[in-house]
């Protein structure tokens, strides 16, 4: 990974060389809507009708698929910060995702604040509340053994799910639609703008987590993951570091929840459902626990698989099964198999394979 820096080379060029693959990928993703548009002869902006835009055509359709991947990738990266780098396992990540979504939705629909300000305030408040929530949940349980934290997050997320599922103000199980959004961000009008917003969010999250984990603080995170007692006896207050990791992870998951609400223009208890805990867990494990790009690869891989298989059918000797009906079952089986036979995930296994091929000089 680390190559010696040539003395006369400017740092930025060195940086660019170290991240060449990511850089090319990023350019590809920036151009993606236009490439698909050119290939399928459809406009990346949608079809104009009167003074409105109709979101129709292949380019626009694939934009929304990728937006979903980006949102899941942010969620999975936040999960990975907690589970992969700090070794703290949560079964209630959907809590942060959903609560931030509800805060934004309430701010946009249930207050008289002007739309643009409501969006800004809602987003900030949502992320801040998630941070506080992470802090509180952590203060209660992070002193205890890891299993208590897992249980506690499971219980709190379930409690929030039940609570929001019955809250009359937000129309209980049905949830409510977001009708007020600034035009430039509205994914049903200017999806391309929203595409770039989510892409920027992914890039920022990625760089932020990489910077954090490679910092001295991140080194303590990893020490806690490897052996918490030892980190403690070296003089680090591990509770504070775990709290920090959880708070940041909660805020990032909240940010993903905000984007999800804007994309679907709907807020409902499904945001707090168990699938938003399972998905990032699964994506992190399949992509590679404790790697930087693993969660993104996992999110992309699983979501594309989902999209491609959604309309497929499985023919078992006369018994025809829609993949869509058994998708969750397949995911669960993939999950179990990965945990048992493939614990390092795609990126982790690849890194190990490369390390074995190139023995350190």
């Amino acid at each position: 990974m680390k190559t010696m820096q040539a003395p006369n080379q400017p740092t930025w060029r060195h940086w660019l060389r170290g991240n060449a693959f990511l850089f090319i990928l990023l350019i590809g993703l920036i151009l993606f809507p236009f490439i698909v548009g050119a290939l399928t002869d459809s406009s990346p902006f949608g079809v104009p009708r009167g003074d409105r835009m109709i979101m129709r055509g292949e380019s626009v359709r694939w934009q929304s698929v990728l937006i979903e991947v980006y949102i899941l990738a942010i969620l999975a990266m936040s999960y990975n910060l907690l589970f992969g780098f700090t070794g703290v396992i949560s079964f209630g990540h959907a809590l942060f995702f959903g609560v931030a979504g509800y805060v934004l939705g309430l701010m946009l629909e249930f207050t008289a604040i002007e739309t643009g300000w409501a969006l800004l305030l809602g987003a900030l408040a949502g992320i801040a509340i998630c941070g506080v929530l992470g802090l509180v949940v952590g203060l209660v349980t992070l002193r205890l053994k890891g299993v208590y934290f897992a249980i506690f997050t499971l219980a709190v997320a379930e409690m929030a799910f039940i609570f929001f599922g019955r809250w009359q103000l937000t129309r209980a199980e049905d949830g409510f639609a977001i009708t007020e959004l600034p035009l430039w961000l509205d994914p049903s009008q200017n999806r391309l703008n929203f595409y770039y917003v989510t892409l920027i969010a992914v890039v920022i999250t990625f760089l932020f987590i990489r910077r954090l984990v490679n910092s001295p603080t991140g080194a303590v995170f990893k020490a806690i993951r490897e052996n918490e007692d030892r980190a403690q006896s070296m003089g680090f207050n591990t509770l504070n570091y775990k709290l920090l990791s959880l708070t940041i992870a909660g805020m990032l998951a909240g940010a993903a929840g905000l984007l999800q609400v804007i994309l679907n223009k709907k807020v409902g208890p499904e945001l707090l459902g168990v699938s938003y805990t399972v998905d990032p867990l699964l994506m992190t494990i399949i992509g590679g626990i404790g790697t930087f790009s693993g969660p993104i690869i996992g999110a992309g891989g699983l979501h594309f698989l989902d999209v491609f298989l959604r309309d497929a059918e499985l023919n078992l000797g006369g018994l025809v099964i829609d993949i869509a009906n058994i998708w969750a079952l397949l995911l669960g089986i993939i999950f179990i198999l990965t945990v048992i036979v493939f614990p390092f995930g795609i990126i982790g296994t690849w890194q190990r394979w490369r390390a074995r091929r190139k023995p350190p000089a």
Partner: protein, 332 residues
């Protein structure tokens, strides 16, 4: 010693508080009796899920997040065996519904035991060196179990339609009709509490299990095959959970929400009683069961429709805040 006395006082206070609230809230002795009986009913069902959870955690350090799924599977298998149609149709072979109910319960227990054995031997055993992944794995198993049940029996909940002996009879007390079946389940739960306690206290295998909870390495060093004990205990725990599901089905029906609900409630029980403590689990079950019944009573006619479902989680949060080692747990 003082810790034990404090626990006992805490239990008496909580129990007294629950009964007091219930007594104040109910208008007649009959209402009060109903709350009490339904609390005990819920408590016994919880005990059937929580006992396996607690012993397995104490012995193997594995928190089986799929324990609730065994309860759910037990309920579905029993429903399926009892009623016409479905996977196994016994109505033609065994026309007597009473006898068929016994067969249905046995089928559920066997299914639970088999699935428990497979989970421990096939999936958990390779992971004893990676404990955090065991937790992740049992979580995954619970999802697969839920999806499999949805796939086989669809998502529509079943309500028990076929009446038989104890299920249809009632008895009267204070001018209020009580279902005999609830009393039957409470009795079954009581019998099981005593049986398992005797098994743990008096039998050779029980002594090994208790020793294993204290110190696993030492038991192994004494030449006992701890792995085999693990498998046995895990299988039994799952079988008991499935048994709970089977005897709950005539009252609660079979639905996909059973698994998660009972898992969270029994986790609350286990944490309240103290992880790995058998008597703690027994007492915790009764307390949580009563708390849910009282909450149901209080919630009627108010806006807190979600109160009964949130109660176990609130208890869990409170216990973790005040005394994380639970009523009977060692403080560690």
């Amino acid at each position: 010693m003082t810790g034990q006395r404090a626990s006992l006082i805490a239990i008496v206070v909580i129990l007294g508080g629950l009964v007091g609230v219930s007594a104040l809230n109910s208008s007649s002795p009959g209402d009060f009796g109903i709350t009490l009986l339904s609390g005990l009913f819920q408590g016994m069902l919880l005990f059937l899920v929580a006992s396996g959870l607690s012993i397995v955690f104490g012995l193997m350090d594995v928190l089986n997040l799929a324990q609730g799924s065994y309860f759910m599977v037990g309920a579905y298998v029993a429903y399926d065996a009892q009623h016409a149609g479905g996977l196994i149709d016994l109505t033609a072979v065994i026309p007597d519904p009473n006898l068929r109910f016994i067969i249905a319960v046995i089928a559920a227990v066997l299914a639970g035991a088999l699935l428990g054995y497979l989970l421990e031997r096939g999936l958990l055993r390779p992971l004893y060196s990676r404990p955090i992944f065991q937790l992740v794995l049992t979580f995954g198993v619970s999802l697969v179990a839920l999806e499999l049940v949805k796939f086989i029996w669809t998502t529509t909940p079943y309500s028990w339609t076929e009446l038989f002996g104890v299920r249809e009879s009632f008895f009267e007390l204070f001018g209020q009709r009580f279902s005999t079946y609830r009393l039957f389940v409470v009795g079954m739960g009581g019998v099981l509490i005593v049986t398992i306690a005797l098994l743990l206290q008096r039998s050779r295998i029980g002594i090994i299990i208790r020793a294993g909870v204290e110190d696993r390495e030492m038991v192994q060093a004494l030449g006992i095959n701890v792995r085999a004990v693990f498998t046995l205990v895990f299988t039994l725990g799952c079988a008991i959970a499935a048994f709970g599901g089977a005897i709950a089905a005539p009252f609660l029906g079979a639905s996909t929400t059973l698994g998660n609900a009972f898992l969270l409630q029994s986790i609350a029980v286990v944490v309240l009683g103290g992880m790995g403590s058998y008597s703690g689990t027994a007492v915790g079950s009764v307390l949580v069961g009563l708390a849910i019944a009282v909450a149901q009573d209080v919630a009627i006619g108010t806006d807190f429709a979600a109160l009964p479902s949130i109660t176990p989680m609130l208890l869990l949060v409170l216990v973790l805040l005040l005394r994380p080692s639970g009523l009977f747990g060692n403080s560690r």
